[in-house]
Symmetry: C3
Subunit: 317 residues, 3 copies
């Protein structure tokens, strides 16, 4: 099995339950990964994903090999039939087959370039590895999705549900401003995750910031942030660049920053963000440092999300 996107989760309830049991006993399956090797291939920076995925693999007794592919390996060609007489030294066909011989699982991080919508949607790197690798592939954030983050978010939400005493939660995904153009991967996977949950889910952002309609589907979009926040139990915040004007920053509207005044419109909602977060741009210090913030626990759950995925892959070998 691969873990390419949230769509690869067959039963989110089962997965989250399993993750919460793993969190209680993280070393329970320490022999499962013995003599198995995971290769972590990074084409972009990483803190949480790098450390939590290594930690998860080590909790399962696996060997880890970490490679900053863009700096330590060869520039990869992804197109078929090319005459490789320019900058690219190695074709994904060979790279993926070869690495499959050294690793039992290959995990890959390759961000969106945000220059070419069709190229990003095609997920050249992730799909290239999937196509040619002969071992399971794990997505550590691709151009389109970040399903390990979304699984950690689902675990975090689940841990909070007890406070709602059985009431269906209202969950809001809110865009917030940012000085740089950011990918859609985290927002996409969170939307897909919420579509699997029994929740009242609303996406809010300025006009011009609609996410890919193929992902949003029938999910509710509300352009009035304050209206969206009413009665919310969870505010999940993330910046992304425009999808329509692909990769552009069409607004840095500071009135969308998450502050306490806005949080006070909610039903004492918890604040969520995948990190890293720009303080006082995306969210104020007051909210981030306050008792409603779940961001540190979300990061903690990255280990158990990764460990759940790796355990399932190992179980299926």
């Amino acid at each position: 099995m691969n873990y390419m996107s949230v769509k690869d989760i067959d039963s989110i309830d089962t997965w989250v339950n399993e993750a919460r049991i793993i969190k209680k006993h993280p070393l329970e399956h320490k022999k499962l990964g013995a003599d198995k090797t995971i290769g972590l291939l990074f084409f972009n920076p990483s803190l949480r994903t790098r450390l939590s995925t290594q930690k998860a693999a080590q909790n399962l007794g696996m060997n880890t090999m970490v490679m900053n592919f863009d700096k330590e390996g060869w520039a990869l060609e992804f197109e078929d039939g090319t005459r490789m007489d320019q900058g690219k030294s190695e074709h994904i066909k060979e790279a993926a087959q070869v690495i499959s011989q050294f690793c039992d699982i290959i995990a890959i991080r390759a961000f969106a370039g945000l220059q070419d919508k069709e190229a990003d949607k095609a997920e050249l790197v992730l799909n290239g590895f999937k196509k040619y690798a002969t071992v399971p592939i794990v997505n550590m954030e691709s151009s389109v999705g970040h399903p390990l983050q979304a699984l950690a978010d689902a675990i975090t939400l689940d841990e909070q549900l007890v406070a709602l005493q059985g009431r269906k939660p209202k969950v809001v995904l809110s865009w917030a401003p940012h000085p740089k153009a950011l990918p859609h991967a985290v927002a996409n996977s969170f939307v897909e995750m919420m579509q699997k949950q029994d929740a009242d889910f609303v996406i809010t952002h300025p006009e011009g910031y609609d996410l890919d309609p193929e992902i949003v589907g029938k999910s509710t979009v509300e352009y009035d942030q304050k209206k969206a926040f009413k009665e919310a139990d969870f505010i999940y915040t993330k910046n992304w660049s425009s999808f329509e004007n692909y990769g552009q920053v069409v607004s840095q509207d500071g009135s969308w920053t998450i502050d306490q005044e806005k949080m006070d419109l909610t039903n004492n909602a918890k604040f969520m963000h995948c990190l890293p977060v720009r303080r006082n741009v995306v969210v104020t210090d007051e909210v981030l440092d306050g008792g409603q913030s779940l961001v540190i626990e979300q990061a903690n759950n990255r280990t158990y999300a990764a460990q759940t995925v790796l355990k399932k892959i190992l179980d299926n070998m």
Copy 2:
């Protein structure tokens, strides 16, 4: 013992046999390397060597420490008696002695600079470590040789010999075009390896691309590629820059690209290349993706070549 070059192999038949047994039971000697540490020092990019040597060490139960020396350490001085008041911060004398105290084996990758023939032939980095280290040294591709690749190639050849039913194979090392100036290391070590084999061995390349005559020795050189390919059982392809006009690209003659038409001149020969390979420059897609290609298995055998070398070193400790 060190593994500096193909010359360090005392009996190629014994080594290849041992490698093929290790390939069948790669975890058989997992206790041999317990509490032993290998340091992998890279002065250049690496994919196969990086991952296969780590994998080999882990199969033997060793700890691994990987260091991109050029980016993560200090710039090294190799000359004796220098006044070190320029860019170099540390002398190889100290570096090699110090690393020997942290590692039981030191493996090193340091490519040819292709600027200065004498400097490259002197193998400053590899020989500097050999001279001052107090532990065994493994060559992970130096300016002059790539003996781990050559050992993997010997394993790969040996696996194919059964099809020849005892007939002596004809093996051709063919130059092929490439847009950049490449080192001679892989070709050199392959030549040295073939000189240890019971084979009809021919080197073919355009005039001006003769390899170091000290390495070629009495091996046959044929400037007519098509003539060389006749009756060949194995076509080993590699680009290298000129040795005479040191480090220069004196031809990118596309008529030397390996294509199916040329492969059809052979005795249904297998195609070999060390990877990474530039498709449709060095070799056509048709040949590389066809049934005659051994390149993926060559890469696979890198693990068992490295494991054979490390096992022999550990056995000798």
Copy 3:
């Protein structure tokens, strides 16, 4: 417990004794660190610290995760209350809390920038991690100190004391010239270490190179190098930039280079340096390669210094 500076050593005699026992039996406590993970975060190059700290952790059975934070992670913000709309992507508050969830110990290298004395004295990186992390912190060289080096130096000194037959040693810390502006960390920690020792300790350097008076305290300073060397048993050499004219190279006076003639003024003193060292600028080949040099053993003792610190931290968990 943290290991932020030499001040964190409660009893130097006990620590050195323990280190020397560990050096004799480095694998004695191999189960102590089982299922524990150390994160090594580098904001600067490192050879000895990188490898010796990993080796020490592996000797204790720990898992290691190494990260070149400046290249592989996100640019960190250390100021409170900032509007993070410039180059910094992540605040130390989140980074330190998050990494604490993946690592049982966090070790950090972050050199002085030598641009802003107050910022360097504030040790933004190290103290930022200390403030927000929830696990022990180890200093792998900060802007102000290098206490792992100083502990290795104390071990090295102790090993030599037997030759003095109970006589109190004279130890000289001598500045030497260098082409680049270097931090004060090694010199600072050595001074602090000597202040804990029963020794006749003298610091010698050209005028204008006084170390931070808060660190020097009542230690003796002698501006005449030759006078300082008289009757010395140990010459510990290090370059540093001016503290008063902060970060400036105010002299490269070659008459301060350590040569044999100067060593002959001493009581057959041993030569010490933390490495890397610039030959024939800081010290001549003759002295460094001669029988009086302890530099390789100092580097060797880095493993046992780190192992002593990590063992104490693990014992306290």
